[in-house]
């Protein structure tokens, strides 16, 4: 595949193939960013498509001072913010106040989380996943990566489903601590 700058140039000149190749490079990054704020996979798909389309339509405004992936993440951020705010209003209208409030809080999080922060956190998360104890690592792989329902895992392990949810919560807490420490270490080194 050609380098990114060449692809951007070709995409600006109208090559859809070049643009598709750009998306091929950055798609998973965009999806993981959207996924941290939105649970519904269909919605993530829709937001990703909207991000791609918006990126395509605004290619002429892209300035090379900003890395292309950051620029795309910025567009994805606008999309997800808009979605969360709409969700919040809709939920408030439906009297689903709790979910509306979560939407509002998440929108604030999304506002303050820059694309660079996301990049760093994903990198730290990948590194922390490698350091998980084998049992935790296996549970993460089964539940998150192989997408097996918690109920099914619980049956196999002869546990209650609630125990699996709680174990996952503890693993996430450990991962969060590890990420904070890694991010701080990186910052200090820098």
């Amino acid at each position: 595949m050609e380098d990114e700058a060449t692809l951007i140039g070709a995409a600006r000149a109208g090559s859809r193939e070049a643009f598709t190749n750009l998306l091929r490079i950055h798609q998973s990054r965009i999806r993981s960013y959207l996924g941290r704020f939105v649970r519904d996979r269909d919605v993530v798909d829709d937001l990703a498509q909207e991000t791609f389309l918006s990126t395509y339509q605004s290619l002429s405004t892209y300035r090379e001072e900003v890395p292309f992936r950051m620029w795309m993440l910025g567009i994805a951020r606008h999309r997800v913010l808009r979605y969360l705010r709409e969700l919040q209003r809709r939920r408030a209208h439906e009297s689903a106040l709790f979910r509306g409030a979560v939407g509002e809080w998440l929108a604030k999080e999304a506002e303050s989380l820059g694309p660079q922060d996301h990049e760093r956190e994903v990198e730290a998360l990948r590194s922390c996943l490698e350091g998980l104890p084998p049992k935790s690592s296996a549970l993460v792989a089964e539940y998150y990566f192989r997408r097996r329902p918690a109920a099914e895992i619980a049956r196999e392990e002869n546990k209650r489903e609630g125990a699996i949810w709680m174990a996952l919560l503890r693993i996430r807490q450990a991962l969060r601590r590890c990420m904070v420490s890694k991010l701080s270490a990186v910052e200090t080194r820098a």
Binding site: G35, R36, R85, L106, G162, M166, L183, E187
Partner: protein, 619 residues
């Protein structure tokens, strides 16, 4: 409520289980009351989402790329196809002026991931709905006069008495032509409807193979476009017919014309506040006072130094600036008005998809589904209409450029003579860095609650091991690099001078003490307006700030090293390049708190202690 219970509820939320209303209320109250817990759970929510999205699924991703590629292809083909349909229609109808795009008529091509069959039905039903609606409209209008108020753009028409018979004749002739044109279009509708019906019947039989699926998909896409083209044509014809009929009616009674005298005058919204503002209806002008209705068809004029706020029933808010003239407010079938000149800032609640809000100007048209933006109209076509979008997305059409562009949040576009229509990033004049945006590295800074902080949260450095050595030559400050810091990332422009204001306070028991009031800022890609006397080795991108101790324990704005007096000449920075930047905040002397860091291209004098930076929507 104990933590165990909260974690249990939270883990159920993340597992997608429904809580009872009581449980939801319980959890919401706990999260509302405890920002630290809320922050922790929200981070957990994001981590859970990240873990779900982390493994990249090549198959899914490739499929998404194909869908996207198809969509681009379809959108490109659509314009060609509509041109063909238009040519076909031109052959069977009298020549018509340029076609105006129908509001809300855009058909979205459904994503293939929902399955071809579902997608087919989606497009099929949408096309059917459009066709049936168009057919009904054409049937109704063929036997009754056009309803509703005038929507014409030139309300200043004055007709001299001697020209009346001639104008009347021409207008009636034009009305007749428009009627014929609309009938011609309506004649074509049944055959399109029949084609659509046949395809719908075919769709219910299972497609035999991929080729057949592709053929069906192509046909349904074509039909959707035909429907859209018909609808656009029909609406344009109806508009022209209505205008021609109105012109004919006006010609009969030249003195009776008023752009704002519709048959019914339902309230569009309310005047929330008004100062130096007037509601207009034809020649009549009444003062726009708070609480008054803004009726359909009315206009609004705001004089120099005046302002007005209009609130729609759905909470959509318009802030109308000085020297602004807006006309023909309508709400039926979607909010709509026309700006002759001036500035309107709008905060638009989500609008129904088929009834977007439309703001017309002499130079173009903005179509909005729900967003925050500002629109400024200069009657001079060289300056034109400027649209600045803070959040969301606005579809903006320039009649001068004959183009449409989607303007996303953080961007602006100009519709003016000789200006290429494009969405461009907004200039960055105000950068506000709040404590919650900081990435805390090294453990000296912590996020704590503080009722006096502008955002309710502040960064606190309770202690530091930073060293300042006293030497015979003066004080020697330790290099900053590698030290614990609060790190902010943001975007800034290279061609601007930003004044760097920090709101902070010392927590020393005696705030007049000179050893508990310093911190340093480092901006790696920028140069401060002065060289810091204490940080020779760190370069020109860093400066030690000092909280003026004589001002007591409260919050204060600091513009530099203010050890001896508050109003020191403020420091400013210039960035080496436009784009993402980093600012690092270091503790030098503690304990101190930092509330907000504000880089401003316009705030050149030290703000009063209780003044905050401008809110996000005004930046």
């Amino acid at each position: 409520m104990n933590r165990e219970r909260l974690e249990d509820l939270w883990s159920r939320v993340l597992a997608g289980r429904r809580l009872t209303p009581d449980e939801e209320a319980e959890l919401a109250a706990a999260l509302e009351a405890d920002p630290a817990l809320r922050s922790e759970f929200l981070r957990d929510y994001q981590l859970d989402g990240l873990l779900r999205a982390l493994p990249s699924n090549r198959e899914e991703e490739e499929r998404a790329l194909h869908e996207f590629s198809d969509r681009l292809e379809a959108e490109r083909d659509a314009s060609r196809f509509i041109r063909r349909v238009e040519e076909h229609l031109e052959d069977s109808t009298p020549p018509a002026p340029s076609v105006k795009r129908a509001r809300g008529a855009r058909l979205r091509i459904p994503a293939g991931r929902r399955g071809t069959s579902t997608a087919s039905w989606g497009v099929g039903l949408a096309a059917a709905a459009v066709l049936v609606a168009a057919w009904l409209i054409s049937t109704v209008f063929s036997s009754s006069p056009p309803p509703g108020p005038s929507s014409r753009g030139g309300p200043d028409a004055a007709i001299p008495g001697e020209a009346v018979p001639q104008i009347k004749g021409l207008a009636e002739e034009k009305a007749g032509k428009e009627r014929e044109e609309r009938k011609g279009i309506a004649r074509n509708l049944p055959s399109a409807e029949e084609r659509k019906r046949r395809t719908a019947e075919e769709e219910v039989q299972p497609a035999r193979d991929a080729e057949r699926q592709a053929e069906l998909k192509a046909r349904e896409t074509d039909l959707a476009r035909v429907a859209e083209a018909f609808q656009e044509k029909l609406r344009a014809a109806q508009d022209r017919e209505r205008q021609a009929a109105e012109a004919a009616a006006e010609a009969k009674e030249p003195g009776a014309f008023s752009p704002t005298t519709p048959a019914t005058r339902a309230a569009v919204g309310k005047v929330e506040r008004g100062q130096g503002a007037f509601l207009t209806a034809g020649e009549a002008r009444t003062e726009a006072r708070g609480g008054e209705d803004l009726a359909a068809g009315q206009g609004l004029e705001v004089g120099p130094g005046g302002s007005a706020v209009i609130l729609y029933p759905d909470k959509t808010l318009l802030e109308v600036g000085p020297e602004t003239e807006a006309r023909e407010f309508q709400a039926e079938g979607g909010k709509r008005f026309y700006i002759v000149r001036g500035t309107v800032r709008a905060q638009v609640s989500p609008q129904p998809k088929d009834q977007p809000m439309v703001i017309a100007t002499p130079h173009g048209e903005a179509t909005i589904l729900g967003t925050t933006f500002r629109i400024t109209v200069d009657p001079d076509p060289q300056k034109g209409t400027t649209l600045k979008v803070t959040q969301g997305m606005v579809r903006f059409r320039s009649s001068l450029a004959g183009r449409t562009v989607d303007v996303p949040g953080g961007h602006y576009a100009v519709a003016a003579a000789g200006v290429a229509l494009a969405a461009r990033p907004l200039p960055i004049d105000q950068i506000v860095l709040l404590p919650r945006q900081a990435l805390l590295a090294g453990g000296e800074w912590a996020l704590v609650r503080d009722a006096g902080a502008l955002s309710g949260l502040t960064l606190e450095a309770a202690r530091t091991n930073y060293r300042i050595r006293s030497t015979p030559k003066g004080f020697e400050y330790e290099p900053l690099r590698g030290r614990p810091a609060a790190v902010f990332t943001f975007a800034a422009q290279a061609d601007k001078e930003y004044f760097v204001w920090v709101r902070g306070r010392s927590l020393a028991p005696d705030p007049r003490h000179l050893k508990n009031n310093e911190f340093a800022l480092e901006i790696p890609n920028a140069r401060f307006s002065r060289k810091c006397p204490y940080l020779g080795k760190t370069g020109e991108g860093a400066f030690v700030y000092s909280i003026p101790p004589q001002e007591g324990p409260g919050w204060t704005w600091i513009g530099g090293y203010a050890e001896l007096k508050g109003d020191v000449p403020p420091l400013s920075v210039m960035f080496a390049r436009t784009g993402p930047q980093e600012l690092r905040l270091y503790a030098v002397e503690t304990p101190i708190r930092i509330d907000v860091i504000w880089l401003s291209a316009t705030q050149k004098a030290r703000p009063p202690a209780d003044q905050g930076p401008p809110p996000a929507e005004d930046r």
